[in-house]
Symmetry: D2
Subunit: 328 residues, 4 copies
């Protein structure tokens, strides 16, 4: 005998990403489509603990598909790391007759979901929403494509100035553990060099490469640096090193920072969020538990949490070659 799902709650947790609102909207409308009640939980797991709930009908979520951020807000919850906190959360779910939960976020969100789902045998499905694209089992996470466009547009503006002044710009982009943003946005922005955590070029080889390209006739340069890159202590120290050792350029640093998390989602992210939100409700209806819905080869897939949490996808070595060739 199966337990028919009658009431689903949805929350967003961890760093926000463009498209989270579109995913919430899709969950809410998929619930309406299947005649399932839908409840929004504010401020992630913290709101679950505090019972900060709001009913989501299909009209509640109108005009949200194009908005950055998450109207349900997000928060990090220390209390949810305690058994007591999770007990409170479960009580609120039970008291509201909520049968299942959709959590939208990144690896931290899914870890919390895994623990909670196991403890209370509670059905939870995860939706990957993070700009970092660092979840295994899905080709893309919601917000990643938008973040790439934001970075590329920002570097296009910096290039105007770099070209006008024969300057070398170091541009830091997000990605503590994964170089996906740096590598793709670096290729897209026509960067001279791309420094990622997965590869340590070494300062000397970077310098050699810059000298070569200066000789080849380049008059300005953009170097894209992922936050987690190991080449120097930090981007400012690296800039000093280049400035000291390379005569021909004036070296400048830009840290793109939080503009990368915001903005109206791209069409791709809106469609992806819509598909994954619907996929999450489908998964719950089909009695899945403890899975993330992802996209692989353009199809929706259900990936067990432990698999999704097994680390970032490997860097695409083909793209490293593309970066090398196009920056010749």
């Amino acid at each position: 005998m199966t337990n028919k799902i009658k009431h689903i709650a949805v929350l967003t947790s961890g760093g926000d990403s463009p498209g989270m609102n579109a995913a919430i909207r899709a969950v809410s409308r998929a619930c309406a489509f299947h005649e399932i009640k839908c409840t929004g939980v504010y401020r992630g797991y913290q709101g679950l603990i505090e019972g900060d709930f709001k009913e989501l009908g299909p009209r509640t979520v109108k005009n949200l598909i194009n908005r950055g951020g998450t109207f349900l807000k997000s928060a990090r919850s220390k209390a949810f790391m305690t058994r007591e906190g999770r007990n409170q959360a479960f009580e609120h779910l039970k008291n509201n007759s909520i049968d299942a939960l959709v959590v939208i976020g990144g690896d931290g969100t899914f870890k919390g979901a895994e623990v909670f789902g196991n403890e209370f045998q509670f059905p939870i499905v995860g939706v990957p929403g993070t700009i970092d694209n660092d979840i295994r089992g899905t080709d893309h996470t919601i917000g990643y494509d938008t973040a790439l466009n934001t970075v590329v547009e920002a570097i296009d503006k910096i290039r105007d100035t770099a070209n006008s002044h024969n300057r070398l710009f170091l541009v830091e982009v997000m990605g503590r553990n994964a170089g996906d943003i740096a590598l793709n946005a670096g290729i897209g922005a026509g960067a001279e060099e791309i420094l990622i955590p997965e590869e340590n070029l070494g300062k000397e080889r970077l310098l050699e490469s810059l000298k070569r390209s200066r000789k080849s006739g380049k008059t300005s340069s953009i170097i894209v640096v992922a936050e987690g890159d190991q080449i120097g202590k930090n981007i400012f120290e690296l800039a000093d090193y280049i400035d000291t050792n390379l005569d021909s350029y004036e070296v400048k640093v830009t840290v793109l920072g939080h503009i990368q998390r915001g903005g109206s989602p791209s069409c791709y992210d809106r469609v992806l969020a819509s598909r994954l939100g619907i996929g999450a409700v489908d998964a719950l209806i089909n009695q899945h538990k403890a899975v993330m819905v992802g996209i692989a080869h353009k199809k929706i897939v259900n990936v067990p949490f432990e698999q999704a949490l097994a680390g970032s996808n490997d860097i695409d070595t083909d793209l490293l070659r593309v970066a090398d060739i196009t920056s010749i």
Copy 2:
């Protein structure tokens, strides 16, 4: 004994699409990387016939990756449809010691390439550059992702007005034979209904659906209509029909037109164009002829022209369901 490629020409043909410049740049730099001479041909096959050539070094193509359109220009050539025209084109290639050709464009471009390649046993590789995404054998064509973002941003603006006035807007988007743009941009823009060539809903059912959604509390609506849709004689006739038969809305028409072909390419299209441009040179080095380079499951593939020309990809039925559910 293989014939080593020493000199590659590249041209763009057919309707332009954002990312064509990035593809030309990648061809040019891949040639430089492999120490192959590279020549740009202006105005597509017409320039081939007229010998309108320009040498492309790696610096010639700088600051092009972010530009819409094609700096080599494009044109339709009637002369290339004649044997005489093609003879002249071949003479120019021979006289300039050009060993192989990369053509960037859509199905018309590839058909021309197929004929010419067969006639003169000339190695040609195609790169899919069209906003229509109607080429079989590649997940995406260059420019399609950018066009989706352009459409979605335009509809976001129209939505501001639709919401402010309780209006119903019919928005025509490109796609004579393929509903890919309409379907994806329609989902991304939160359209109420999406009318595509592959499916004929019928006027009556459209009307019923609009009445239902009005009852459900919607106060404004966007209907996305692909050019090639068959539901009415044209979008204006359809607007009249709705206006006559539906009291509650004021009906307006917008035809997005050629803004969909332009604009700075998205990061995705820039990276795709870079990969396919390099892939085209790789294919020629590896003695491929009469193939298109495409992307499938994130990997570069070589697809024989006849296969690429076998018609559009089928519409993703999963997306039809997504459109239905999210517009509830």
Copy 3:
């Protein structure tokens, strides 16, 4: 003895324009600043007649400054053209103890305000919100600057395609009576010719000019046409005329339409809307009636309605010369 204002209502009427939300927000916050109660009226004068009101506190209007359209919605009201309708409107104001009214809109809105204010001796201040910039007594109307940017960005995209194909594009922009949008956006977009209601170049001279510029080496062209231009029956007829009489180009038409009314307001429009919203409340506090607040030489001014309604500002002849010179 002065009557201290204790309760202000605000509404938006006529065509919406980007920045109307910013103006409503400013009215609401200026009221809070002066400890005046603020009420929003939905759907313009129609909502006034129906008593469709909502209290606006300073937090009610948060996150609105960057949104296109008007969250109070706009509508045209036939009932408000009748004495009976206006009586009902007045009853609602009286019953809600509303002392004064701020109306945001264009000339139609101000005409209604003038009649109503006279009839009931009710203090009304107008805020010019229209993309058309056709109100006398203010250098700019709210939304105009944003519309110019929208048009220029759209034409930039069309230019990509025009350049790639050696085409001539006719682009229709808004402006039934005033050529301000066409003239400024035409200069900004680098248009070859700009056709405005205020000046009728004549078809033959247009043709001569196009032939001259073709000879001078131009390979593609954009002609910007204001809606209200009188040169042909309409833009399609004009395109046919050029196509028939000019060999060298392929002629295409784009009608930009309602995308010009939407979009997130520019910084200029947000600041202008904030200033005028505050200025409207200041004017009411200072016992003004039947005036529009405008901006002239960067200062806020109060302009009697009859003066504001005396027709469009004259076209800046200096700009006609700029258009001529820059399109050489």
Copy 4:
């Protein structure tokens, strides 16, 4: 007897700003219109010293109006600060029969022009191109309006994240001596507080204000800080101070940096640049020397260099009040 101008040179100097290309284009086309020869000088005064010249015909400058940066490039020249350097510059002008010079830039550019013009009795007209809007005698400088839009769009993205997480963001914008960007973009972005060089609020009052607004129900906040603001040692120190003394928010810092200098110019900046470029040629034709062309009350004016260099425009105190009221 007047000396008819037959040959004008144009250069860009100092920090680049969006619209400089549009200004160069206008100078070049105004020259063509008046049948004056036009020469572009690369890399500002340094290129003048080195004779790095290029003839600019009306077609040379096509497709430049929408491009950020300056295709003539800019540079700071130490050599031009020496009499010897300036002698060389004058020799190049004389040898090329150049009669007059248009310099596009900010106060440093005009200072150089003043000295050079006096020394050699050489006619020079300045065009104000800088994002800082810190030139007296012109309502706006070229690039300022675009920079405001860039800042406001960036802060809109940051707001998405701030709202999603109940955070307080400190955003540093350009403006070492002038708070114009901070004040206008701060109002436009709906900032809670705006810190400018012209006013020192003091840390304690800032803190009090933040506490008040938290109490009033605000859940997130943006503080815009001009580079030259004196409230703390720097923005990071200020962030620490707030973090230590204010419990309720998580405090984050973003430095927008060089993205503010780039980007496609707004319509306003394109039209302004076109008018000022034409105005500069007009001024030279009319025998003006040592003046800047500016815009005041929508009209072109000629302002003697010494007047333009008399410091920034004063801050608009009306805008300080607008900032106070709209952030209530």
